[in-house]
Symmetry: C2
Subunit: 119 residues, 2 copies
DNA sequence: CAGGATCCGGATTGATACTG
DNA sequence: CAGTATCAATCCGGATCCTG
C-alpha cells in the first residue's frame, strides 16, 4: 500500500509540473515559435512565414508572452523603417530538448500512421 | 548560404513534426491525462480527481479522442453499476519520455521562478 | 515593417440537470 | 458510476484597417 501511495504522489507531482510547463507553453503556437527561434534569430515577418497558419495578431501576442516569461529576446534593429529581431534567450534554450522530443514523436507518429498500424 | 538553407529546411520540418504531435496532444489536458495513465490504469472518476480542474464533459471528450488515436484503452469492467477502466496502450507508452521531459522542465522552471532569476 | 484596434462569427468551456 | 444534453458565457482566430 505504501508503494501505491508513493506512486500516486508521484503522479500528482508530475501533473502539477506538467501544468507549470503548460502555463508557459500552452496554446497552439508557442512551441513552434520557440523551436523556430532555436534554429536562428528571426524578424517578425520571417516567423510569420515559417510558422504556417498563424495570423499577425496572434503572433505578436504570443511573442509578447514569451518575452515576458524570459524565453525570447526582442531587439529593435532600426526605426523608420522599423525592424525587429527576435532571438532565443539562454533560458529559452533550456527548451530545445523538449522541442526536439516533441518533433521526434511527431516524425515517428507519421511513420506509424503511414504504416497503417494505428488501427 | 547552402548551410543556411539546410538550417531553414530543418526548421520547417521540425515545425511540421511539432504540428503532427500537437494535432494529437494539443489542448490543455491531454498530456496530463496520458502522464496520469502512464502511472497506472484508472477509473473515470479517479482521473477526474487527479487531473485537477478538468470538467466531466471535457474529460470524456478528451478520453474519446485519445482512444480513437490508439493512445489509451477503454475497458468496461461492469454494467449496472457501470465501471470503466482506462489504461495506456503500448503505443501510448511511447509518450512517456515526452511527458517526463515536460514535467522535468516544469520542475526546473518552478525553481527558476522561486530563485527570482526569471527577470 | 511591426504591430495595435476593432469587429465578428464560430469554437470551447463550465454548470447544471439528467440517464442507464 | 460514467457519461450525455443543454444553455450561457467566454475565448478565439481571421480579416480588415490604421499608425509611426
Amino acid at each position: 500500500m505504501e508503494q501505491d501511495e508513493t506512486i500516486q504522489n508521484e503522479c500528482g507531482k508530475t501533473i502539477m509540473a506538467i501544468n507549470d510547463t503548460m502555463d508557459i507553453l500552452g496554446g497552439k503556437w508557442k512551441i513552434s515559435i520557440i523551436a523556430c527561434l532555436c534554429y536562428s534569430s528571426m524578424r517578425y515577418s520571417e516567423i510569420l512565414k515559417k510558422v504556417r497558419g498563424i495570423s499577425g495578431k496572434v503572433l505578436s501576442r504570443e511573442l509578447k508572452e514569451l518575452e515576458i516569461n524570459g524565453l525570447i529576446i526582442r531587439k529593435v534593429l532600426n526605426e523608420g523603417p522599423i525592424a525587429v529581431e527576435y532571438s532565443i534567450s539562454d533560458y529559452g534554450k533550456s527548451l530545445k530538448e523538449l522541442t526536439l522530443t516533441i518533433a521526434d514523436w511527431g516524425l515517428n507518429h507519421r511513420q506509424f500512421v503511414i504504416k497503417g498500424m494505428a488501427k
